[in-house]
């Protein structure tokens, strides 16, 4: 591949990288290359996306353009050029003068990228001050201007707040302001929307795209999400294990990917719908009118209610997806079912048996039948124990298995989760992320549960690894008849995976829908917003989405007596939605919590199903 693709040869090259190698030195003196022979060029004002899974070196490459490396890795290159600057030839003090002035950086998590004990404004204007580009007064005025152009609320005063006082989406936009305040030539965006909820992501993407266009800066956009990148990038470079698989224009990569790896990435990002399970008709788990939360319980209401009147049931072998954004109460629901958090009101029933609310009062048999697989296998697995010990413990505890019988069962479990027997002697720190999550799953399966609660089990994994874990769970529930509750923030994944979906908003079930009904596209306004917010692998999606009417920015509920979604709802009815709690409307295979009747609901513009057709 030529350094600058033929299609961009005619334009002015703003950023050029040739023969970039980055390696870390181990304590033993070994030199381990993490990035090898990377070359690319970006025309002025264009956005190059670096796409890859974790460990592909995408962030490492992007940071090399600031002459910065983590963990003392060393950067070697024939050329790293930004405008007229040779980054690869600069001294440390020269680099300090370039960073934040001519090349700026937007970090993945604004929440941790901001200093918690300094005000937003003081951090945003800091690049101008340390590079002596403006005095404090001018800098502050410039920041306020930027806040306003980035559609931040009350731009005059938001700067006096501390980072914990603004929402994640707003903080991410503040970080954009901080990066653009010095009018840099190159902006590096490192997964700027990955930590955000899908509805917030849309808004932030819109602002980023507009701001980048207005500033005219060249940009590098680091991401693992092809659909997101399709909205903002001009060119895409696909990376794997520190090398470049292919590079080309967005249209070329999306429509005619040359590399096998790119195709597998795209396939993993578009989950295939699985057939409905042949679930038995009897309900294995019934949750009725659960109200739960934190703090002291008075008259059946906790001081900080998280879940309100949640009811659903799940059949043997079926999968129920629980969808919601962060803070909607998804994990609290899992904790209530498992008894980790006793409910304030309502019952959890296993078959016909009402479970005691608190875990301490449940029998060992009752505990065995409900198992949770936690999100972070890293913290859920005891780092001091080997895989054998981790799996043998529940066998002894629930089934009294010891000695050869336990060994045989451990071997069976490993078989079930498709891991070789040589992992048995290892500790969790010696396993990869995917392997850890499999062991985490096997630990729950060892109890032979009737109900398996999977709490965001794939959110910390790369898409390809995550897809394999999902396949595994899907096989298990079909073959073993385990009812699965699949908690996720990703509606497209959950929809592909589950027979029924339960959508939580601020602790209330706003919609409960079967797969068949879901495809009809008639939804509660919040579900519709969620579905419409999932980026599609189509470069025009964001533009179409921008024309849509829903105010997607998260807002607090107005009053506990009203629909919590009211402040964001584009279909609210004056005189109904703002006066009383919405009724639950039921029809076969679907129920929603809404004042609108079925006939009045607007169907979603382009469903989750649409994603699978983009590629054909």
């Amino acid at each position: 591949m030529s350094v600058a693709g033929r299609d961009i040869a005619a334009k002015e090259i703003a950023v050029e990288v040739r023969g970039l190698d980055i390696a870390v030195h181990e304590a033993s003196g070994n030199r381990i290359p993490i990035v090898r022979d990377i070359s690319f060029a970006i025309p002025r004002g264009e956005v190059l996306a670096l796409i890859g899974e974790s460990g592909s070196g995408k962030t490492t490459i992007a940071l090399a353009l600031m002459g910065y490396s983590r963990f003392g890795a060393d950067i070697a290159a024939d050329v790293i050029r930004v405008g007229d600057m040779r980054i690869d030839k600069m001294s440390r003090s020269e680099l300090t003068r370039v960073r934040g002035r001519r090349v700026s950086y937007i970090a993945q998590s604004a929440a941790s990228g901001f200093n918690p004990s300094r005000t937003i404004l003081s951090q945003v204007i800091e690049p101008l001050l340390v590079h002596r580009l403006a005095d404090r007064k001018t800098a502050e005025a410039r920041a306020v201007e930027l806040f306003a152009s980035l559609a931040l609320p009350s731009p005059e005063t938001i700067g006096s707040r501390y980072p914990h006082q603004v929402s994640g989406g707003q903080l991410q936009r503040v970080m954009v302001a901080m990066a653009l305040i010095t009018e840099p030539e190159l902006v590096i965006l490192d997964e700027p929307t990955t930590a955000l909820d899908v509805t917030t992501q849309v808004e932030v993407l819109k602002t980023i795209k507009l701001a980048m266009k207005q500033s005219g800066a060249t940009a590098i956009y680091v991401s693992h999400d092809l659909a997101v990148v399709a909205q903002v990038a001009d060119r895409i470079a696909v990376l794997k294990d520190g090398t470049m698989c292919e590079e080309g224009s967005v249209e070329q990569i999306l429509n005619a990917p040359a590399s096998e790896y790119t195709r597998s990435l795209m396939a993993a990002a578009q989950p295939e719908a699985r057939p409905d399970a042949q679930a038995a008709p009897d309900n294995v788990l019934t949750v009725s009118s659960i109200t739960a939360g934190y703090g002291r319980i008075r008259d059946g209401m906790p001081a900080k209610p998280v879940l309100r009147d949640v009811s659903f049931s799940i059949r043997r072998g079926a999968a129920l997806g629980v969808i919601g954004e962060s803070g909607s109460g998804k994990s609290t629901l899992a904790r209530v079912i498992a008894g980790l958090l006793p409910a304030a009101q309502g019952d959890v029933m296993l078959g016909d048996e009402v479970l005691p609310r608190a875990m301490a009062r449940r029998s060992r048999e009752q505990l065995r039948r409900v198992q949770i697989v936690f999100q972070h296998a890293d913290t859920a697995l005891n780092p001091a124990q080997t895989v054998r010990e981790i799996l043998a413990r529940p066998l002894a505890f629930y089934h009294g298995l010891k000695g050869p019988a336990a060994d045989a069962r451990v071997a069976e479990l490993l078989d079930l989760i498709q891991l070789p027997t040589d992992v048995l002697a290892r500790r969790s720190s010696e396993l990869s992320g995917g392997q850890k999550q499999r062991v985490n799953l096997a630990r729950a399966l060892a109890a032979e549960p009737d109900v398996l609660i999977c709490d965001e089990v794939t959110s910390a994994l790369d898409t390809v690894v995550a897809a394999a874990i999902l396949d595994l769970i899907d096989d298990l529930r079909r073959n073993l008849g385990i009812a699965t509750i699949f908690i996720s923030h990703d509606i497209s994944n959950a929809h592909a995976f589950c027979d029924d979906l339960l959508v939580l908003y601020a602790g209330s079930v706003v919609e409960l829908v079967s797969r068949a009904r879901f495809s009809e596209g008639l939804h509660h306004p919040y579900t519709r917003l969620l579905v419409d917010s999932v980026p599609e692998m189509d470069t025009g999606w964001l533009a179409r989405r921008s024309a849509a009417d829903a105010p997607a920015i998260a807002r607090d509920a107005i009053s506990p007596a009203l629909c919590p979604f009211l402040p964001r709802c584009s279909q609210a009815i004056v005189g109904a939605c703002d006066t009383e709690w919405p009724p639950r409307r039921e029809r076969d295979g679907q129920s929603i919590l809404c004042h609108r009747d079925w006939g009045e609901l607007r169907p979603s513009g382009h469903g989750v199903q649409g994603r699978t057709t983009v590629m054909s």
Binding site: L63, Y68, V98, R99, G100, S104, G113, N115
Partner: protein, 326 residues
Amino acid sequence: MARSENSRPAWLRIAPLILYRFASSLLTLFLVSAVVFTISGLLPGDAAQELLGQSATPEQIAALRHEMGLDRSAPVRYFDWLTSIVTGDPGVSYVANMPVRDIIAQRLPNTLVLAGITAVISVILALVIGIVSAINRGGKIDRVLNIVTLSLVATPEFLVATLGVLIFSVKLLWLPSISLAPDEASWTETLRSLALPVLSLTFVVVAQMARMTRAAVVDQLERPYVEMARLKGVPFRRIVLFHVMPNAIGPVVNAMALSLSYLMGGALIVETIFNYPGLASLMVNAVTSRDMPLLQSCAMIFCGVYLAMMLVADVIAILANPRLRA
């Protein structure tokens, strides 16, 4: 999005926290007083016996006990004593036969001077050592400082003090080995007499504080916001002073308060070695002579100072936490 808890002004959220903290300190002090009183009552022998000596008859002892009020029931004596402490007049020393208040008034300033000078020197030193080794973590300077502070933590202060005397007083003849500066001594003489005790105490407390400072600063240096600041082109010195320190101040102040509180009581050995007329040696004398009013007062002063330091540290930590401040 502004959350509801932030709608109130900052002081309204901080004031109850600090008041609560203050009240719990007072409660602790009250409980401590009960403990001090009980434990001092458990010491074998009593002041009457001690005063009259071996040859006294039981009748004489009983008479003196009555005179001293020792024959009343414990709760009565406790509340009597508590009121006298609170009113600032903890009675008369059995042994010296002068008001405890006067004895303490003589000794307390000495201890405060010693502790104060040591505190100032060791805090500055600890901050510098801690920050320097945190910045160079893993490097040569860090390792050297690490070994030095570790060995200082492990060395008992009587050894440091004795070695100090050996080197500076006996061999080099630079400093006096006994720090009994007369009242009319000049400033330089006072300082010279204080040099060795301060040096010994500094050695002991600075190591602990430096290690805690290093840990707190390292913890902050590895946060993503530090990387962000570097990528904004903020000079490293500025990152440490303006980004890292405001976040490290809470844990650092707490560690320092813990170490410095040692200065009041732990100065004992140093005071003894240098024959320094401080509060700690006074308390030891009170124990050997069963001088309860004096002993109890000294104990209460030590506990009070300790709690006050903890209170100050907590208040600083509360004020330094933006989630509480803003």
